[in-house]
Amino acid sequence: MSLLEVRELKKHFPIKSGVLKRQTGTVYAVDGVSFNVEKGETLGLVGESGCGKSTTGRAVLRLIDATAGTVVFEDIDVMKASGSEMQKLRRDMQIIFQDPYASLNPRMRVRDIVGESLKIHNIGTPEERKKRVFELLETVGLNAEHAERYPHEFSGGQRQRIGIARALALNPKLIICDEPVSALDVSIRAQVINLLEDLQDEFDLTYVFIAHDLSVVKHISDRVAVMYLGKIVEISDSRLLYDFPQHPYTEALLSAVPIPDPHTERARRRIILEGDVPSPANPPKGCVFHPRCPRAQEICTTAMPRLVSTGGDAGSPHEMACYFPARFAGGERRVDTEPFKAAFSAAGASV
């Protein structure tokens, strides 16, 4: 059984306008996302801004209420959990936020920030809590002296460590990392990535790692889910992602990431996508990627392909949502001219 199972998760935001605040439209931020996260693994969620990756993370934790779908964490339906059940669940599911400047209360001391959840959940005596805070600070590479200081006295990297200590306080099983290193400089970023990896080993943590930087996501994740306009278009083993991308969007995304190696850079062929990501308030009909897709054909404009297993051409389970995926067999890459039948949705795309 998976630690976390997400099925057909949807989050639609209403657009309201006019004096009466009538709903005049809908932003389809997350539109039918399904994935599993196994205990002890790291699932990376990657995509460009506005693809719904952060909204997915927040909906999973019920920090925002989802429009539809189910989230099951250890056999408990998170969407239907009552207030007291939810409080229990929050001990097991934590989050680390992107912006280490905005996510710490500037008027609280570090000991109160890190110890707040212990207090809320009535864990230990004040003395024990204090000890636990010191312990947590040392775990994340700070020290006990830092407990009495305020967030403004710390650099970005140190603040992110405080955010991590806070997330660890209740011994969670799952941590959603929402762009935890995006705001950090290269040398500090590597420190925090290594820290997250060490903590995972030490405390047997499961991560959902959300970021727009593919190199970082691939580095830290066991599996990577690529999102585009509120949908997952491909889920792949991270080791195979770069060499065997099947979905054309994944291919374009990978080819667009500059690689810090001049020889490799000169030898690469870049796929440049035309235009911008369409607005999630008015997503294209059919496959959401078809207006920018180099492989799009008529069938792609009829219905969104289902996320299906492609049988693991490259030797590991692999799911993608495309009528014309790239296949890798016998060391060769080919794209079929016939649409991939398994991707036909129930809604009925037909040739």
Partner: protein, 342 residues
């Protein structure tokens, strides 16, 4: 390479604040030739943006001041020419593309008018001609339906399109030098690829020299001919792009390359971060700014700033560790072990 466009010698820019003197740039030298791209790499606070702004004399004074050095553009020292003369240089000889296309365009002025401004000022064209040129420029940087778009406001443009408009503005007077300060940092990667393409195309078309400032070593590997690595307001190493990536001599350059996760490598190698924090520019350590974070520090490092040592053709480094010792240390670093094997 082509003719020499710009020579910067020993440039120092400091900011005089209540808290103390912020030594943002300390004795930085570099050159730029026609058709060449210089990448300036460094983390936040390394002085790379201040160095570029100093060239254009865009440092707010007070509190900032260029306290030393020469900025030679075609025989003129940009540091000492009059305000009127520097205004002729800006936009005309040197143009700049800023990081954030959301805040560097005026939100209440039409795109066409913002591009036309420099054309009217520098080329003495009429308003009508300038607007026509603005539309042509938008078309050239790949904005569809340019004739209509020229009449729109920045909020009607997406992030990528705004950056294209910024580029159109920068190339409007055919400048010899284009300074791009983190031109793609605020953009998504597929849009970043488009913008890098446009900058390259424009560089080829106008045969300009480009200074690309970025913290992204991937972008540098892609576009730069030569690279300058900055740390704590100093140039710690400079050289041709291949030398910097495959034969780097400074421990900070090693550290940067070792901290990067690689997309193109299947196995999971552990990153080797640089310990500690970047230095405070008000209280820079004596000697090498990297001392304190450098794992190979010796006692000389806290004394004086090491003189630039030439280690190869057009490749210089400032470090107290003797060359052969540097080679020996580098061979044992995980990042370069792999490189040597492949």
């Amino acid at each position: 390479m082509g003719e020499r466009l710009l020579t910067v010698e020993d440039l120092s820019t400091h900011f005089f604040t209540y808290a103390g003197v912020v030594k943002a740039v300390n004795g930085v030298s570099f050159t730029l030739d026609r058709k060449e791209t210089l990448g300036i790499v460094g983390e936040s606070g390394s002085g790379k943006t201040v160095a570029a702004l100093s060239i254009m004399r865009l440092i707010p004074d007070p509190p900032g001041k260029i306290v030393g050095g020469r900025i030679d553009l075609g025989g003129r020292d940009l540091r000492t020419i009059s305000d009127d003369e520097i205004r002729q240089v800006r936009g005309n000889d040197i143009a700049m593309i800023f990081q954030d296309p959301m805040t560097s365009l005026n939100p209440v002025v039409k795109i066409g008018s913002q591009i036309a401004e420099a054309i009217i000022l520098h080329q003495g064209k009429t308003k009508g001609e300038a607007w026509q040129m603005a539309a042509q420029l938008l078309d050239r940087v790949g904005i569809p339906d340019a004739a209509k778009r020229v009449n729109q406001y920045p909020f009607e443009f997406s992030g990528g399109m705004r950056q294209r408009a910024m580029i159109a503005m920068a190339i409007s007077c055919n400048p010899d030098i284009l300074i791009a300060d983190e031109p793609t940092t605020a953009l998504d990667v597929t849009i970043q690829a488009q913008i890098i393409d446009v900058i390259r195309e424009m560089q080829e078309r106008y045969e300009s020299g480009v200074i690309a400032i970025t913290h992204d070593l991937g972008v540098v590997a892609e576009i730069a001919d030569k690279v300058m690595v900055m740390y704590g307001g100093r140039t710690v190493e400079y050289g041709p792009v291949d030398e910097i990536y495959y034969n780097p001599h400074h421990p900070y350059t090693w550290g940067l390359l070792g901290s990067l996760p690689r997309l193109d490598v299947a196995e999971k190698a552990r990153l080797t971060p640089i310990k500690g924090q970047p230095p405070d520019l008000i209280a820079l350590p004596a000697g090498c700014p990297f001392s304190g974070r450098c794992p190979y520090e010796r006692k000389e490092c806290r004394g004086e700033w090491p003189a630039l040592e030439i280690v190869g053709p057009d490749h210089g480094v400032s470090c107290w560790i003797p060359v052969d010792e540097r080679h020996a240390i580098r061979e044992k670093l995980p990042h370069f072990e792999k490189e040597a094997a492949s």
